[in-house]
């Protein structure tokens, strides 16, 4: 909780962080049948798209191993690759600015805009800008920021967090979109047709693209070898922000760098297949510096902002570094049994699903994000589809271990105390078979006595939570151990 109290103290527009409300929001979202319908699409349809697309590789498994190896290499050589990227990008004429945190990034970008008399910017989808609250910072300085990816545009108008990494507004009913477009996107006639709604957004945003003085984009990959930034999209809004305005600002975090163009091309193939089941997205644009002198369109100035925001700190821990391998494809979301029941809102920040459960605790600290990394069945489906080689369940286990090491007894509530005590006793009994056996028999006795088991169902604790939707397991009349002993005795007697 420390971090965003600090941000609040600085008087800077606050990014809404709701990680501490995970359980509460998850419970609400489970009841949202409309969203659940769309989550079914993600869980049933997208993995098939992904699988079919991966089949176009002669050896899909090898392709995944190769992309994981590239990402591991990137993380291993991150500082050198970033330096190389910065040098080469600068040689291409781009202005590279490294910033320590979100506050600094926002200040730099706001100043760039102010100095150029910018009244509004058009924005391509960028998760880091959501992480740092760039839109809020611009708004607070009288500069409008128009999200131009259709899904981001809708969630911006509705002031809602993203539902999914790839389809942030996919669960929003067309009625709501129609209403908000009439209110705030100059649409004249109500409609429930997605294509007509899309057209209305096209018309509205086209005007913004045409007259924008500054375009802000994210970065999918930053090629160290050539100083090139790469963006991947289907709509064309990023290309618009890179073609029409005179100033382009592209924002990236440290881990976006890749060693060379060969690596980038392989990652592009894997990214597009993992993300949407496409061989390649409709538009992949690669910028190596601003426009050349005689070119009629394109940016006269290209700024590349490299944001740290806690990552070099995270980098110091060899185990945590793995989080930086992520390429934001979203495949983990679509295969996660938890995400596909609750959607993106409960994760409380820019990053949802398993990759959010890995990254958010590392950036925001474990206190406010405990429920995030615990909300996992450790099934490993995410790990198996991850093209970046991240072992999510293993990381959650490591987080649990670190959290346990730092836990202070006085800070625990009653339920947590009971569990701690339980484990202390368990740890003591596990090396004492006779007492273990005795405890098993006593537990059996207790569970079969309603006088004891019924109250347990009412106190906040494992029994109450289990019996929420299941019967208590019925202990057998004999433990296996007792059965074995009886068996041996019978054979001996014979």
């Amino acid at each position: 909780m420390q971090r965003f109290y600090a941000a609040r103290a600085e008087g800077y527009p606050l990014v809404k962080i709701n990680t501490h409300r995970f359980k509460e929001i998850a419970k609400e979202e489970l009841k949202n049948t409309y969203s659940r319908g769309f989550l079914d699409i993600f869980s049933q349809f997208f993995p098939i798209l992904r699988k079919n697309a991966m089949e176009s590789f002669s050896d899909p498994q090898e392709a995944l191993e190769k992309s994981a190896a590239i990402r591991r290499d990137v993380v291993a050589r991150l500082p050198q690759l970033l330096d190389a990227f910065e040098n080469n990008a600068a040689n291409n004429g781009a202005k590279v600015i490294r910033v320590k945190d979100g506050r600094e990034a926002n200040t730099v970008i706001v100043n760039l805009a102010k100095k150029r008399g910018i009244q509004y910017v058009t924005k391509g989808k960028s998760m880091v800008t959501e992480e740092i609250g760039l839109n809020q910072a611009l708004q607070a300085n009288g500069i409008d920021a128009f999200e131009s990816d259709l899904g981001e545009f809708i969630t911006q108008l509705l002031d809602r967090p993203p539902f999914h990494i790839v389809g942030p507004a996919m669960n929003v009913p067309v009625e709501e979109i129609s209403d908000i477009f009439i209110q705030r996107a100059e649409m004249k006639t109500p409609t429930l047709d997605p294509v007509e709604l899309g057209h209305a957004a096209r018309v509205y945003l086209r005007n913004k693209f045409h007259h924008a003085g500054m375009g802000i984009t994210g970065v999918n990959m930053a090629v160290a070898d050539t100083g090139t930034i790469i963006n991947v999209e289907n709509e064309g809004n990023i290309r618009m922000s890179k073609s029409s305005p005179k100033t382009q600002v592209s924002v990236m975090t440290l881990e976006k760098v890749v060693p060379d163009m060969q690596d980038a091309l392989h990652l592009l193939r894997v990214l597009c297949r993992s993300c949407t089941g496409q061989k390649l997205a409709a538009y992949v644009s690669m910028d190596s510096g601003p426009k050349k002198t005689n070119e009629i369109d394109g940016p006269e100035e290209l700024f590349i902002i490299i944001v740290d925001n806690g990552r070099s700190e995270l980098y110091k821990d060899i185990q945590s570094r793995q989080a930086l391998q992520c390429i934001r494809c979203g495949a983990c979301l679509n295969t996660c049994p938890v995400y596909t029941k609750i959607g993106g809102y409960p994760y409380g920040w820019a990053y949802s699903g398993p990759m959010g459960q890995v990254l958010t605790p590392l950036l925001l600290g474990f206190e406010a994000t405990e429920d995030l990394f615990r909300a996992c069945t450790r099934c490993g489906a995410c790990r198996d589809v991850c093209p970046a080689g991240i072992d999510h369940p293993k990381m959650f286990q490591a987080f649990e271990t670190r959290r346990q090491e730092r836990k202070k007894i006085p800070g625990l509530n009653r339920e947590e105390m009971i569990i701690e005590m339980g484990f202390v006793i368990w740890g003591w009994l596990v090396t004492r078979p006779r007492l273990w056996e005795l405890t098993a028999r006593l537990t059996r006795k207790a569970l079969s006595l309603p006088a004891l088991s019924e109250p347990l169902k009412r106190i906040d604790g494992p029994v109450k939570h289990w019996t929420h939707s299941r019967t208590l397991p019925h202990p057998a009349s004999q433990t296996f151990r007792e059965h074995w002993k009886a068996l041996k005795k019978a054979e001996y007697d014979r």
Binding site: A169, M170, I177, Y283
Partner: protein, 185 residues
């Protein structure tokens, strides 16, 4: 390889025409324009486009064809691209068969907005520019000692989205229609 390329493009709803000679290309262009009711065309001036007698096309068909050089400044060019041009026509530096992708290297003869702003993108691709995978294109563009191009676009099909209720449609911010004329010349 050509067949793979054509299949990939048509899978993306692109249309493909094959012509042997450049004058056939001009004729095909006129037919396309008539069929799609294209009246105003913005064109690149790259080495492929220059093989077509665009002036002749304009004269013959009454289509208004403009290039970047016709405008007094950037703003005038942008106004035409955003508000007037029904179609943009460009050459293509590389056609990549593995995904039916058009690779455009942007420079003063290949403005960015020509293949982005209008609803139609007509792309002239010499068959000799076809390569099997992205690597061949990238190797030539990125490994020279000369300055790197300011932008390279890889275009695979028209602009699209499925962000509203997972309903997919073409023509979000970029072109809605992609037409490729494969040149034998």
């Amino acid at each position: 390889m050509i067949d793979d390329f054509i299949k990939e493009i048509t899978d993306q709803t692109g249309e493909v025409y094959r012509v042997k000679k450049c004058d056939e290309a001009a004729e095909t262009l006129v037919n396309i324009a008539q069929e799609k009711q294209i009246i105003k065309l913005i064109a690149s001036t790259d080495s492929v486009i220059r093989r077509i007698d665009l002036a002749g096309v304009a004269a013959k068909s009454g289509i208004e064809i403009r290039t970047a050089g016709d405008f007094k400044d950037r703003d005038a060019f942008k106004a035409y691209a955003f508000e007037h041009a029904d179609a943009g026509i460009t050459g293509v530096d590389y056609g990549v068969a593995e995904s039916g992708t058009l690779c455009l290297v942007h420079d003063e003869n290949q403005p960015r907005l020509v293949s982005l702003a209008p609803l139609y993108h007509i792309a002239l691709l010499p068959m000799k520019h076809l390569v099997p995978t992205y690597e061949q294109a990238a190797a030539q563009i990125f490994s020279t000692n000369a300055a790197l191009p300011s932008q390279v676009s890889f275009i695979t099909g028209p602009s699209m989205t499925a962000d509203i209720q997972a309903t997919s449609f073409k023509g979000m911010h970029g072109p809605k229609h992609l037409i490729v004329i494969l040149l034998g010349c």
